[in-house]
């Protein structure tokens, strides 16, 4: 009943878009008759209209139909009505929930085009570099065809390249690059180094992944700090002789270690020290980290070793997060455990959470396949409404109920059996595992069963083959084992993806320089085709050498060749010829396979564990049954799974006991499924709590960050920082005078003030403040300010003589440097405050309220400190100028 009410409100929303969709459809004929050039000029026409004061909403129908037409011409894809609905939702700054395979990427181009017309850049945010590149090269062609510039940010771009990319009308970028660039922009020393423009509109692909899953860990820019490294190796050795539940306890839910009294004594004995918690020589932190590394962080689950480095694997996406490090010495402890070189400890220079970062956009929107379950959070924190867009064709996926086994071993056996059955039936199978370790375990098992399969996980050798594996995952009898990597953004087409494979062959040939004879994928094709390809390659050799293209440019060329946009250059024409040859032949093979596979039941998805949130499970399920294809999914679980063990409580285990089943028989009951879902909901609530807390506390830091960044930007943009220095000087004088005049001893008061001012002005011994001034503090302040001004003028004149303009540079440098240093220290203090503030609840005080008040005091202290140090530094520095 409630559900009915609920869906109908969503339905009403969708219905309200019908009129616009109808209008766009009616324009299709007219726009379709335009020539390419006429279509191109539409962009400038729209821009002119906007300048005249027409709203975006007004031109929306025409703009969308222009993009639709361009999509047909460039990519051969016609935008469906449901995609237009999605695009309208995006344009309105809401979240569009669209199922897998419904073409979200294309939806973003519609809304992106429309908003880019206003001249303020549009950022399209993806979860990884690969998707950003794929999208910009693929659908970005539509924008280029219509005369908009398209930028792409990748991890290894230089600042200049980034700046260019951000200035484009539409920029494809990953969330982490975007956030880091923002932080870096607020650490630069000159305006020219700033790469981002003002934020205007942002479309987030896989919005739940970015705004919810990633929101728990903030973005941090850090630099090295001094700390001894030996302690890590020592405590690592120590941790190996400590025993669980004797020397320490493990809290798996909070991922925490508790040292027992016995353990404390043992460690102290072993290290021959008196107190682990000694202020001068603390050990406890290192020991806790070493035990954490031993018990809670597992190789090939939480991290992998690559090039002798510990690299974090993201638990939600299954991808590696290179460059990110665990903080507070944990990463070092793991490095000690794995016996790889231990890197220096880090100190935070700047940080921001995704929650506060994305709230910087005046207009924000997103799309994903799974957002409805997190609707209330998205609404509360980001003020984003979620609207479900209906699918283009009805969903035909069968979702079998979960099978629960009494132990993990039985579960994996059953999974392997299921894989075998599917393999024999000729159906493609995708098995989702939660970690690298488990994916490899299953791979071994399947090898024993002699089932051919491919493995996709964060290991570098497997990542390389990612696109190939996915392209072929839908083929007859193929079995693919994957981690969460095969969740978002992967589109498995039944029978196989011919265009994908054709493209990857071209990349193999041109970029990886694999010859035709050695290319296994080409070897499956007829000899005639192989010969033709060889010929084309030979004819291209000269072009390729002369053009001397970079890898990225070459990839772009290949992308263009793979689509339908008109081309003129020989290189591109030849490439397209080759592409079409391969495509044609593969298409023939695949279309037959597709028929067979679809009849057999389509893609079967096997889940091997419930994840921390239902969304991730749904993502995995969503791989099957795309665009109305047949498909099915089933989850295999065991009582020993992490989720059930940590959060399930005794209820489920008791239930199993009560039903008294033997090990081999799986359980399939609605009662069990319900309690599983309840456990999952509990976990979701638990993590929502954590995120909410992170958000509430970070909001304090965010206000401070905005204040500091605004001041920094003001100084950076100012051509005349002298005003700022003098302003600081005035408030410094205020502080000094107020401080001195409040001291009790009258005589001491004067002496004190005199020395302080003398020190400030760097004056000689003869300097003396006349006593008449003391009676009136405002007069006194005025007089001192005047002295400072004179002093400063002299200094300025002196420096101007040495080198014109030097003083302005110095001012800016001092200001920025002091602000940055102070901010860095402040962040550390705030971290310490955050650690300590929870204890206030014992005094019946609200920690958040206390945090806000204490944080403000710290902030004011910091600002005062900055003002004082800048003023002292600039008034007292002795400059030695080298005369060149």
């Amino acid at each position: 009943m409630f559900n009915l009410l609920f869906s109908s409100s969503n339905q009403r929303r969708i219905n309200s878009y019908a009129a616009t969709v109808k209008k766009i459809n009616s324009l299709e004929q007219k726009i379709g008759n335009l020539s390419d050039e006429e279509l191109f000029t539409k962009t400038s026409y729209f821009k002119d209209e906007l300048k005249k004061g027409v709203t975006l909403d007004y031109i929306l129908p025409e703009a969308f139909s222009v993009v639709r037409e361009a999509g047909c011409r460039v990519l051969g894809l016609r935008v469906f009505d449901v995609q237009i609905i999605g695009a309208i939702i995006l344009h309105q700054g809401k979240i569009a929930e669209m199922k897998t395979g419904e073409g979200k990427t294309l939806v973003a181009t519609l809304a992106g085009y429309l908003n880019a017309l206003s001249g303020k850049g549009v950022h399209i945010v993806t979860v990884n570099d690969y998707l950003a590149r794929r999208d910009s090269e693929w659908v970005g062609q539509i924008h280029k065809f219509l005369g908009l510039s398209v930028g792409l940010i990748q991890q290894d771009l230089s600042k200049a390249e980034r700046k260019l990319a951000y200035q484009c009308d539409v920029t494809y970028v990953t969330n982490s690059e975007l956030g880091f660039d923002y932080l870096k922009d607020n650490m630069v020393l000159s305006m020219s180094e700033i790469v981002q423009n003002k934020f205007a509109f942002c479309i987030i692909d896989e919005v739940d992944s970015i705004l919810i899953d990633e929101a728990r860990t903030p973005l941090i820019i850090s630099g090295p700090s001094e700390a001894p490294v030996e302690k890590y190796t020592q405590t690592n050795l120590l941790s190996n002789i400590l025993f669980k539940d004797v020397h320490y306890e493990v809290d798996e839910k909070a991922r925490n270690i508790i040292l027992t009294d016995k353990g404390t004594l043992f460690c102290e004995d072993h290290l021959s020290i008196d107190n682990l918690y000694d202020l001068e020589n603390p050990w406890v932190h290192y020991i806790l980290n070493a035990i954490k590394a031993k018990e809670l962080f597992i190789k090939d689950v939480h991290y992998i070793i690559r090039d002798n480095q510990v690299v974090i694997v993201d638990e939600f996406t299954g991808r590696i997060m290179s460059g990110r490090r665990w903080s507070d010495g944990l990463h070092q402890a793991i490095e000690a455990k794995e016996q790889v070189p231990i890197q220096q400890e880090n100190q935070t220079y700047a940080s921001i959470t995704y929650q506060n970062f994305f709230l910087l956009y005046p207009k924000l929107s997103g799309m994903t396949g799974t957002a409805k379950t997190e609707e209330s959070e998205l609404d509360k924190i980001y003020n984003l409404e979620v609207i479900c867009v209906p699918t283009h064709r009805p969903l035909r996926r069968k979702e079998f109920s979960d099978l629960v086994y009494s132990n993990e071993y039985r579960k994996w056996e059953a999974i392997a059996d299921e894989c075998y059955d599917m393999y024999r039936a000729g159906r493609p199978t995708l098995v989702g595992t939660t970690s690298v370790e488990k994916s490899e375990l299953l791979s071994k098992l399947l090898t024993e069963y002699k089932i051919p399969h491919s493995l996709l996980n964060a290991k570098p050798e497997n990542v390389e083959k990612e696109s190939d594996i996915i392209a072929q995952a839908g083929r007859q009898s193929s079995v693919t084992i994957a981690t969460n990597m095969a969740g978002r953004g992967t589109d498995i087409i039944l029978g196989g993806n011919p265009s994908y494979i054709a493209k990857s062959i071209l990349i193999d040939l041109l970029i990886k320089k694999i010859s035709v004879q050695n290319n296994l994928k080409l070897q499956q094709l007829s000899l005639k085709t192989q010969y033709c390809i060889n010929q084309i390659l030979k004819s291209l050799e000269d072009d390729l050498i002369y053009a001397n293209l970079s890898v990225l440019e070459l990839e772009k060329k290949i992308s263009i060749a793979c689509e339908q946009v008109a081309i003129s250059r020989n290189l591109e024409i030849q490439l397209r010829k080759a592409y079409q040859l391969i495509f044609q032949e593969y298409e023939n093979i695949f279309s037959q396979e597709k028929k067979y596979v679809a009849q057999a039941g389509g893609l079967h998805v096997i889940g091997t564990e419930r994840h921390e949130s239902r969304r991730i499970d749904n993502q995995l399920r969503g791989r099957a049954g795309r665009q109305g294809d047949p498909g099915s999914s089933r989850f295999f679980l065991s009582i020993e799974d992490n989720l059930l063990r940590i959060f399930g409580g005794n209820k489920i285990a008791d239930l199993m006991q009560a039903l008294n089943v033997d090990d081999d028989t799986p359980m399939e009951s609605t009662l069990l499924s319900k309690s599983l879902e309840a456990a999952q909901k509990k976990v979701e609530a638990y993590f929502y709590d954590t995120r909410k807390q992170v958000f509430e506390y970070d909001q304090v830091l965010n206000s401070q960050r905005q204040a500091i960044y605004a001041e920094r930007r003001r100084i950076l943009e100012s051509g005349y920082p002298r005003d700022c220095i003098l302003q600081y000087a005035e408030s410094t004088i205020d502080d000094i005078v107020n401080f001195c005049l409040t001291s009790k001893e009258n005589n001491e008061k004067f002496v004190n003030l005199n020395t302080k001012i003398k020190y400030l002005l760097n004056a000689t011994d003869t300097f003396f403040i006349s006593k008449d001034l003391y009676s009136d503090s405002s007069e006194l302040k005025k007089w001192i300010t005047e002295q400072v001004r004179i002093n400063y003028d002299l200094r300025e004149a002196y420096l101007e003589q040495i080198k014109p303009g030097l003083i302005r540079q110095l001012e800016k440098y001092y200001l920025l440097q002091q602000i940055d240093n102070a901010w860095k220290d402040h962040l550390q203090k705030m971290g310490a405050l955050r650690d300590a503030i929870g204890w206030r609840s014992y005094g019946q005080q609200d920690p958040l309220v206390e945090y806000k008040n204490e944080a403000f005091n710290l902030f004011i202290e910091m600002i005062t400190h900055v003002k004082h140090t800048v003023v002292y530094a600039i008034l007292r520095s002795r400059l030695m100028v080298k005369n060149d």
Partner: protein, 411 residues
């Protein structure tokens, strides 16, 4: 700008709801002879005591007569229960938002039950003043009073959520404050004592003195320095903000409330027994008896310890410290920390209880010495609540002012 108007709106909203809550007190429950009732209860001490919290509701029986009391009572009961029942404790500590919501829900049901019981008792108690006392009347008044109490509860939650400060505390605050003028007039102008102005001056001085002691009792905390493992390596200077505050008076008003409730027992017992010796002993502990104040003080002391032992368990603190990887400088974790905390808690509680009964005894002593009646409305309970709520609310307002300051810095 938005922050500023936000604060203003919140204050407006809070005031509006408080006025609403106040209005309901004056809407009478039908069927009672209110004049007769008022005349009879004016001198009843029990009713006067209840009036402190419900804002005079009992002398008129308005629909909001129960006020926030059932909700407060059930909160107190829940607070005690979560310490006793492990399942509830788990719900509160480990299940996050969802668990806390469940606890709140249980508290509400408890309040509903309490309100029903209390209104039932009232409808029976007012029988002499009812025109036509029958079952329908009982049902009607139970319904009216319970509903009123639920509405008040809802208002209090609205204030907490969308207004400023803690709704329940503010409602009690309002009730106490609204009773003050009546108290003053009763003390000075109804009775024809001489030297009113001198007494009035003396009263003001004592009143201020009591407030000062109350603030001290309410806000006095012992700050135990804490150092977390994470901060240990970073600097060898102790962060001044890193401390565990232990309140001088853990129990708030509870020790006094329990103590005064127990003090009613001897007077009640005198009506049951005929034994003259026993009666004599009991009279010692009745109001005006010579040992009355002594027993009162001892009970306050006892309940202070009792309450502290329930809400503050040194073992819990020590475990939590361990969990967070934190420690008290120079005190070893584990048993040594527990002992250390226990000693501090004992001393704090003793000191706190001493101040508490000093504040509680002052009105009694003044009454005796200065011959002023009805000072009890100004008792320690009211003052403690007034001071506590005022400080908490001010702190919350402070946070709004701060965010406004940040905003101005960004521009």
């Amino acid at each position: 700008m938005s922050q500023k108007s936000d604060l203003r709106n919140r204050i407006k909203f809070t005031l509006l709801l408080l006025v609403l809550a106040r209005l309901g007190i004056f809407i009478p429950v039908p069927g009672i002879d209110h004049d007769a009732f008022y005349a009879s209860v004016e001198k009843n001490t029990l009713v006067n005591f209840l009036n402190i919290f419900s804002g005079g509701g009992f002398s008129t029986i308005g629909i909001f007569a129960l006020g926030i009391v059932p909700y407060i009572n059930s909160s107190i009961v829940m607070q005690l229960l979560t310490k006793i029942i492990p399942d509830l404790e788990k719900l509160q500590k480990e299940e996050g938002e969802l668990g806390r919501q469940k606890i709140t829900q249980i508290t509400r049901y408890l309040a509903l039950g309490w309100a029903t019981l209390q209104s039932g008792a009232i409808s029976i108690w007012v029988k002499p003043y009812v025109f036509n006392w029958n079952f329908t009347f009982v049902c009607e008044s139970v319904l009216a009073l319970t509903a009123g109490s639920m509405i008040i509860m809802w208002l209090s939650e609205l204030i907490t959520e969308k207004g400023i400060g803690n709704g329940a505390s503010l409602l009690i605050f309002q009730n106490i404050v609204s009773g003050l003028p009546k108290n003053f007039t009763q003390s000075f102008f109804d009775a024809n004592y001489s030297n009113t102005s001198i007494k009035f001056g003396l009263f003001i001085v004592i009143f201020l003195l009591m407030i000062i002691i109350t603030i001290f009792v309410q806000e006095g905390t012992r700050r135990i320095k804490i150092i977390s493992a994470r901060q240990l390596g970073k600097s060898s200077i102790l962060d001044p903000n890193s401390y565990l505050p232990l309140k001088l008076n853990q129990g708030g008003v509870m020790p006094i409330v329990f103590a005064s409730a127990s003090m009613a027992l001897p007077a009640y017992l005198t009506q049951l027994t005929q034994n003259t010796f026993l009666l004599q002993v009991l009279y010692l502990f009745c109001p005006n008896g010579s040992l009355y104040l002594v027993l009162y003080s001892v009970l306050i002391l006892f309940f202070s310890y009792f309450y502290t032992s329930i809400v503050m368990n040194p073992e819990d603190i020590a475990t939590n410290l361990k969990k967070m990887g934190a420690s008290i400088p120079n005190i070893r974790p584990g048993q040594a920390t527990i002992d250390y905390l226990q000693v501090i808690l004992n001393r704090l509680t003793f000191l706190g209880a001493t101040f508490l009964f000093t504040v509680a005894l002052i009105p009694f002593i003044i009454e005796k010495v200065a011959q002023i009646q009805n000072l009890r409305g100004l008792g320690a309970t009211s003052l403690l609540i007034l001071v506590g709520v005022a400080i908490d609310t001010a702190k919350q307002i402070q946070t709004y002012v701060i965010s406004k300051k940040y905003d101005s810095m960004t521009k």
